[in-house]
């Protein structure tokens, strides 16, 4: 394709570092050459090639460690101004394969809570940075508050049930919880970031390595998409962890939601941009009604326009969230309630836009839309999977309650 899909969609480009633009361009070109032009081969040897490519980026280029300070062997992207750059990289990875971006997004979200300035948590960085800045591929799973079908009443984080508990005893504490559903990677993760509540029902986040005694994984289950991010429920049988590896702070949980919304927004956007390329290509080559290209039919053009509009909106929102986070001089840090609310509100909308773009675009592709060969349907399944992972049981409602609390001062909902 002769167009540059990144320049095509308007966004406040001044927010991204020029250095990163260069890295992003390199990833972009790599994706074109290694994956996008060779989808069928990639599909055939998927697991093998996925791991190969993941290693190239995460270890060889070093994306796995970017968020950590240089003192930990990272790339020092742990200041808020770097955030627009991080999402640019995530977008490029996801354009190649949303699962690549998704795995990085989970890692970055869990890491950012610990490593992002101004409040670097050295104990947790000491624990996770050696793993993530090393030469092995690592995966992270995150367990957020959420629903279950059984069990006694749980402590709440803004209405959502926290089903992991910690019990402190001096410098150590024990983590427990049964059949907890991670956002992804449950079956393969090396590091687990677990939202939990303490004896006083106060929310926090515990960081645990998966090899700890008492960490038990359920069966890997099949999901709609993100085939490489094997997921499984996790049970913690009184797992002993250092108290220093628990952030006992409700703000940290908000922050984790904020990062997840932003980073997974960037992932879905990246997948959409490649979908756009597929669709554009289709519209330039498909003849309809026995005459004329598909894109020159006004009705089809109006659907094409809707696809572009939804993606544009997603992109504007991703970058605007990143701006709220990065302009600490204007907004303060992620503890500002407007940041959490905006990330949740726009994060939800980004996923809707992304999915709507693909859903509408598939309409024009007919059977090519759902044939695996054309790859549109993979983006569609991946984005839907991201959307549902990101939402709690109750769908949009928990986020709507967050929005209402912020804007209307609701207290009982």
């Amino acid at each position: 394709m002769s167009i540059n899909v990144n320049e095509l969609f308007p966004y406040p480009a001044q927010w991204v570092d020029e250095d990163v633009t260069a890295i992003a361009t390199a990833v972009h070109q790599w994706a074109d050459k290694e994956i996008i032009k060779n989808r069928l081969e990639y599909q055939k040897a998927y697991h093998e090639l996925f791991t190969k490519h993941r290693r190239e980026h995460n270890i060889d280029i070093g994306f796995q460690k970017i968020i950590f300070p240089e003192s930990y062997g990272g790339s020092g992207f742990n200041s808020p101004e770097k955030v627009p750059s991080i999402i640019t990289i995530l977008g490029e990875l996801s354009r190649a394969d949303a699962a690549l971006g998704f795995m990085s997004a989970l890692e970055y979200s869990a890491s950012a809570v610990a490593a992002m300035e101004p409040s670097v948590n050295t104990s947790i960085c000491d624990m996770i940075a050696p793993l993530l800045c090393g030469n092995e591929l690592r995966s992270v799973a995150i367990i957020m508050p959420g629903s279950a079908s059984t069990g006694p009443p749980s402590p709440l984080f803004l209405g959502r049930e926290i089903r992991a508990r910690i019990k402190r005893s001096g410098a150590t504490c024990t983590l427990s919880g049964k059949d907890l559903r991670p956002i992804g990677n449950g079956a393969i993760a090396d590091i687990l970031a677990v939202v939990c509540a303490d004896e006083n029902d106060k929310p926090g986040i515990a960081y645990v390595t998966a090899d700890q005694k008492g960490v038990e994984r359920g069966n890997t289950f099949i999901q709609t998409g993100l085939d490489e991010c094997g997921n499984a429920d996790i049970t913690f049988n009184d797992v002993a962890i250092s108290s220093e590896h628990v952030i006992s702070d409700e703000d940290a949980v908000r922050e984790l939601y904020t990062w997840l919304n932003l980073f997974l927004g960037a992932v879905s956007l990246g997948a959409c941009l490649n979908f756009f390329e597929i669709l554009r290509n289709w519209s330039e080559n498909r003849v309809i009604k026995g005459k004329g290209l598909l894109r020159e039919n006004p009705l089809c053009a109006s659907v094409l326009a809707t696809v572009a509009e939804e993606i544009s909106l997603a992109k504007i929102l991703v970058y605007n969230i990143s701006n709220f986070i990065s302009r600490t001089s204007v907004w303060g840090g992620t503890e500002n309630p407007i940041i959490f609310m905006a990330a949740q509100m726009f994060g939800k909308r980004i996923q809707q836009c992304a999915l709507n773009a693909i859903n509408r675009g598939m309409e024009l592709m007919a059977s090519a839309g759902y044939a695996k060969e054309w790859h549109a349907e993979k983006h569609w399944r991946d984005v839907k999977t991201i959307q549902t992972c990101l939402s709690a049981a109750g769908g949009e409602v928990p986020v709507q309650m967050d929005i209402a609390r912020y804007f209307y001062g609701c207290t009982d909902i």
Binding site: R286, K289, E363, S367, K384, T388, A393
Partner: protein, 423 residues
């Protein structure tokens, strides 16, 4: 557990045998299909699990002979005034378990609709082909319409008038000689025993007289079927390529003749909409059941989801919307079954086609919305295979896209309701 009969049923306008028949189907769905539907989903290439259950539906229950006249061993459904209600009930009940199974078993009869529903009846062909369907062996039909270049062009028959059809039929010594390449039809990919093939007798012509619909047994020399494609969903339905290379079939395998073939073919458009709404509503009924269960057991704020006002609001919208889809699908039924009433319109009429497309488009769009929202309500459980909603979601998307998709429906509606002259 909730019974989906809480949703609208068109009492008073269905046949007296529909109730018991639904009971039989429901039993098979509960006992034989639902426990295995995740296996079908992985079985798209081999159909190890799919074929036995297809046999159960088509042969044991016997729906493969339903359209045939009683004198040839069938049920004469095509001549009844409850054919559409009956077809819909099969589509819906089996669709609730697995819409692709519903699709492949019902679409098997699709080509037969061109010559077994009055006024377009060909008794000679019926008699000759009947043994294929009544002999206790499974016989799968395939309406082999789409061509590589054309997308939905062939279905867009009022506009394109067959002008773009590349599959040719040439009369030669009492036989039709057919050459062409079809792809994507339901029950291709090696499954079908009998094809219905839209051809042109004069390439490039837009004269309806040059449109021919010809029945071609799959074992005729020169017929080749490719392997099934990999798709997002609908695994019990195989789709692939079919090549016709100087395939010769007897002259009387053309269903009617010049002009009439094109009209009879149009009835397939209506039948396609009827099946589509049945599969879609069937899926939705099951989505409702799953959601009922999930929202009654999973919790938010330590109470079942359904006891939270805002979540209940979404649940109410979903169920209400499913109910509306079900009411509307009965409108498609009624439109077909009233075809011989004083106020009825033929199946191939512009009115019937436009109005049934309108409802099909509405239901399939709504189905995607509903199913997507249902997945969201399940949160991180929404994409899990084991809850089955995500399978419906993948299947429903295909229902939305097939048969020319949304845009063709929109054009058909515009032409009908606004008398557009140039579209």
């Amino acid at each position: 557990m909730i019974s989906f009969d809480k949703l609208s049923v068109r009492n008073g306008s269905i046949s007296h045998i529909e109730g018991p028949f639904r009971g039989i189907l429901r039993d098979i769905v509960e006992k034989e299909i639902m426990p295995h539907r995740r296996e079908y989903d992985e079985d798209w290439q081999e159909h190890r699990f799919v074929e036995p259950v297809l046999h159960r539906i088509c042969v044991d229950i016997g729906i493969q002979k339903s359209l045939l006249p009683q004198e040839f061993g069938g049920w004469s459904l095509g001549q009844s005034d409850y054919m559409m209600a009956f077809t819909y009930c099969i589509a819906e009940e089996i669709g609730r378990g697995d819409s692709s199974l519903s699709l492949s078993s019902i679409c098997s009869l699709w080509p037969l609709c061109t010559f077994l529903i009055p006024p377009f009846v060909n008794m000679r062909l019926a008699r000759e082909l009947a043994p294929l369907f009544t002999g206790g062996k499974i016989c799968i039909g395939c309406q082999a319409m789409t061509e590589p270049q054309g997308g939905s062009d062939i279905e867009n028959i009022d506009l394109i008038k067959g002008r773009t059809i590349q599959t040719t039929a040439r009369l030669e010594g009492g036989h039709w000689v057919i050459n062409g390449h079809k792809l994507w039809p339901t029950n291709s990919g090696g499954l079908a025993s009998l094809f219905g093939v839209p051809c042109t007798t004069r390439p490039g012509s837009d004269d309806p007289d040059d449109f021919a619909y010809i029945m071609v047994p799959a074992d005729t020399p020169g017929v080749t079927q490719g392997p099934p494609y990999a798709k997002a969903g609908m695994a019990a339905d195989k789709n692939g390529d079919i090549w016709f290379d100087n395939v010769r079939v007897p002259e009387h395998y053309r269903i009617h003749g010049p002009g009439t073939d094109a009209l009879a073919f149009k009835t397939l458009i209506y039948m396609g909409q009827l099946g589509s709404v049945g599969f879609a509503v069937g899926s939705l009924l099951n989505v409702y059941e799953i959601l009922y269960d999930f929202s009654s057991t999973y919790t938010y704020r330590n109470a079942p989801l359904k006891e939270h006002d805002a979540i209940a609001g979404v649940l109410g919208d979903i169920a209400g919307s499913i109910d509306i889809c079900r009411m509307l699908s009965y409108e498609v039924v009624r439109m077909g079954d009233d075809r011989n009433k004083p106020w009825g319109k033929p199946l191939h009429s512009h009115e019937t086609i436009a109005r049934s497309r309108n409802i099909k488009e509405f239901i399939s769009d709504r189905a995607m919305e509903i199913c997507g929202k249902a997945m969201d309500l399940l949160g991180p459980h929404g994409c899990e295979r084991v809850l089955d909603i995500e399978k419906h979601w993948r299947d429903l998307k295909m229902i939305q896209l097939w048969l020319g998709g949304k845009q063709l429906c929109q054009m058909e509606k515009a032409r009908y309701y606004f008398d557009c002259a140039t579209l």
